[in-house]
Assembly symmetry: C2
Homo-oligomer: 197 residues x 2
């Protein structure tokens, strides 16, 4: 009986270890959605390629009008390029301490009906998946708008060699959060209309 | 010793039950992102108010430019209204078997800088959270575009009494999926550019 008990102890311990290991990537959707915040304070630590690929893969899982997938992504980890991006963007100074940036792009020519509005919406959905994936991995990110500002879009195009017909929708710095940024409760029941406006 | 062993059995069993109960809402973020699909086939079963509230609450957790939160939501469960919506929308026949619909709306006047592009992007992010929340609950949904189509927006406005200055961005039918709809693998490595375009 004692042997069986020890067996149970060992099993329980192993299960605990496996669960804890998986836990890093296994955060449930609602807690990630509600704990996601705009992280503007990073430690300066790098972000690995495997994590960045996982984040972008999540972006590509978004829906798009008639499945056109007009999006594309530029991933930047080069310190000099991150600093160059920051230099021309009014609200993206956190790039200086970010480990990476993901630029979510979209191409109206590739969207359904070559519609620019649909191209922007499709890539926005990918961009939200990216923000949630960043949070799910315990990293931090923030959507800094390039579109619809011509000067910011042109700066991003110049630094990264993005063609004129491609819209750089946003610059999303990605990094290890210092913990200074906290989620907001934005629930407002008055924004829900039942059965009619 | 036997007593201790039985104690462990009971603890293990209880832990299992608690875990299984939580599991319904505890799907990890990456599996939800990758298993989300456009569900167009519903059983016709109703969707409860608690679930709809949870879904919309997830929508409101999205980020918005300068935290303006220009979005609002109309929730429809009334059979007659769902059918009326379907009657004037070319790609929303699945409403006839859906248990509910969430209409994601946005107001340029309430967006940062009164910018319509930002209003549309902000509400799009809320709309993606809503799609993921639907999937996380084991329900199905699909983004059917109202914006940028004037005829569809006007139909939705008329049926639901939405003011002219409010943009009904989409109609998202929500229902119990039949299982006919499956997720697509949309990963395309050629859409990732490293360090520059």
């Amino acid at each position: 009986m004692r042997r069986i008990c020890i067996g149970f102890f060992v099993c329980l311990l192993m299960a605990g270890v496996v669960y804890a290991q998986e836990d890093a990537d296994m955060k449930d959707t609602f807690s990630v959605i509600h704990s996601r915040k705009s992280v503007r304070n990073f430690t300066g630590a790098p972000v690995g390629r495997a994590e960045l690929d996982k984040i972008i893969r999540a972006g590509m899982a978004a829906p798009s009008a008639v499945n056109a997938q007009p999006w594309s992504f530029v991933v930047v980890t080069d310190r000099k390029k991150l600093d160059e991006l920051a230099a021309g963007l009014p609200y993206a100074n956190m790039l200086l301490k970010a480990g990476a940036a993901i630029i979510v792009c979209t191409e109206p020519d590739k969207a359904y009906d070559q519609n620019r509005d649909l191209a922007v919406i499709d890539a926005s959905l990918a961009g939200e998946n990216i923000l949630l994936a960043i949070e799910a991995l315990g990293l931090g990110g923030v959507w800094t708008a390039a579109y619809p500002y011509a000067d910011r879009m042109n700066h991003v195009r110049t630094v990264l060699g993005i063609p004129q017909e491609v819209i750089p929708l946003n610059v999303t710095p990605v990094g290890v959060p210092t913990g200074a940024d906290q989620p907001k409760d934005k629930y407002k029941p008055e924004k829900i209309h039942r059965e009619k406006w």
